[in-house]
């Protein structure tokens, strides 16, 4: 009875306890951060680093970025595993995430706004999205207008500069970015492609190096990585610009190629394959003399080469036989269609 009651009461008590625990947790929560040394404040710097929210085109919503007082920006990424926590000196920290700053090109972030506002007409940066504080901060205080030339046409009149989105330049720029990423993936030997194996199952590093993923797999993965910073439709445009077939298509093609290889190997057995045709007389005698075959067992038995049997008609299966039997004596179906 007592056992039962504790079991029954336990789940009830827990949610409350958890709720209150969470409340106290939130204020004391520690965060483990890997901070890029480039962004670290220098000794006498008075300005503080800040975490700000900007619209992230890949997420379709705002995300946190770390900004330096001088306008440099980095993305804040989180590394999470389902079950991780930290021990910090003699304290338990239930927040088992690692926050990390990652370099980001602010032009990529601006691209979304430029496509939205400057596709039809040229605009000056301070006129774009005046009502959105974070957007205008991004465009005016963080973005380097020099870099924008890669994605826009710049028209200047006097002091003011006006920008118009240029799709051709943008795609070319993104293609180059994709190539940069593909290069680093290759250098780091990241496993790419649909046939990529987990490194858990790869026996050795050397084997991994031999396991050549093809060029397209790298490009596809790089394109997907770049695509994480793009609007979905722009990502699709980039994919077609780079002539990347879809992954499913690639799998189908690869399978077809593999089958082709197989059937090819089957066909020209004589020329390429390693099976050696044995000539009746001399092969048999050779074998006998080499002692591989015990000849004294049955001296009459000659070794015949496995000659290819002449192509026979495919033997009928039981089902087909039964059908043929049943059809005996019936008219041919063609006879019904004869002109009478």
């Amino acid at each position: 009875m007592s056992k039962k009651s504790t079991r029954a009461s336990k789940p009830k008590a827990e949610p409350d306890a958890e709720g209150s625990a969470k409340m106290s947790k939130a204020s004391a929560l520690k965060k483990v951060l890997f901070m890029s040394q480039e962004l670290l404040p220098k000794d006498a710097d008075d300005g503080h680093l800040r975490l700000e929210r900007f619209f992230h085109p890949g997420h379709g919503k705002e995300a946190l970025f770390m900004t330096h007082p001088d306008g440099r920006i980095m993305e804040l990424v989180e590394y999470t595993e389902p079950r991780r926590s930290w021990l910090v000196n003699s304290e338990v920290c239930s927040n088992g995430r690692i926050y990390m700053t990652a370099a980001v090109d602010s032009t990529l972030l601006a691209l979304h706004h430029l496509r939205k506002h400057c596709a039809q007409r040229a605009m000056s940066l301070d006129n774009i999205a005046v009502e959105e504080a974070s957007t205008s901060r991004l465009l005016n205080e963080i973005l380097d207008p020099e870099n924008l030339k890669c994605v826009v046409d710049v028209k200047s009149s006097g002091e003011q500069k006006f920008y118009k989105y240029n799709q051709e330049r943008t795609l070319a720029w993104l293609a180059l970015k994709t190539r940069q990423v593909a290069k680093i993936l290759k250098e780091k030997q990241v496993h790419c492609g649909h046939s990529a194996q987990s490194q858990n199952f790869v026996r050795s590093e050397k084997l991994a190096a031999e396991n050549v993923s093809n060029e397209m797999d790298y490009t596809r993965m790089a394109c997907d990585i770049v695509g994480r910073y793009l609007d979905a439709d722009l990502h699709d445009l980039l994919t077609s610009y780079l002539h990347i077939p879809s992954e499913i298509q690639a799998i189908v093609e690869e399978k077809a190629a593999a089958q082709k290889r197989k059937s090819k190997a089957g066909k020209d057995e004589g020329s390429d394959s390693k099976k050696i045709k044995l000539n009746d007389s001399d092969a048999a005698s050779k074998l006998k003399s080499s002692g591989l075959v015990d000849s004294d067992g049955d001296p009459n038995a000659s070794i015949t080469s496995p000659t290819a049997a002449p192509l026979k008609e495919r033997s009928l299966t039981a089902k087909e036989k039964a059908l043929a039997k049943g059809a005996k004596g019936t008219k041919s179906i063609a006879s019904f269609f004869k002109v009478k």
Binding site: A28, K31, A44, R53, L87, S90, V92, A172, S198, Y229
Partner: protein, 155 residues
Amino acid sequence: MSITLDFNGKNIAKSNELELHFLPAKIDGDGEANVDHYFNNYTREATEFGRGILTNALRGYPLMGEKLKVPEGYSGLVLQETEKPISNSSDRQLRLTGVFKDFTYWNYDKVPSNGDPYRQALFLADVAQALSQPISEDDLEAEIVRNKENNKESP
């Protein structure tokens, strides 16, 4: 809304070095624990699994770990929010608790290897670096021309 990281270079230089363990367990709680007595005391080196491999146990579950450096080009910081924000829109501040150069990475019953998600995730830093590299205008012009030619060949 923004969050200020309330420290400067001097704070970092003066701050104390922390000892961190990255545990493969979800712990539903925060606060003081007698880590030295119940955990650090039992860390052993297990050379049979390789150089620098450590073993320990958490509640009887075997752990295998190793000392890892913070990735190159990065500094390890531990931040803490001292005051709870009044509302979501108010500005928040994160204070520096300490810094670290290395930490002990623990796996549950598995020798740490390049197959660990943590190690693979670190590729991201390199990839992000490559992605953010600016592209020169000359390259861009060349690419535009190249693409035009390609399209002409295969319309």
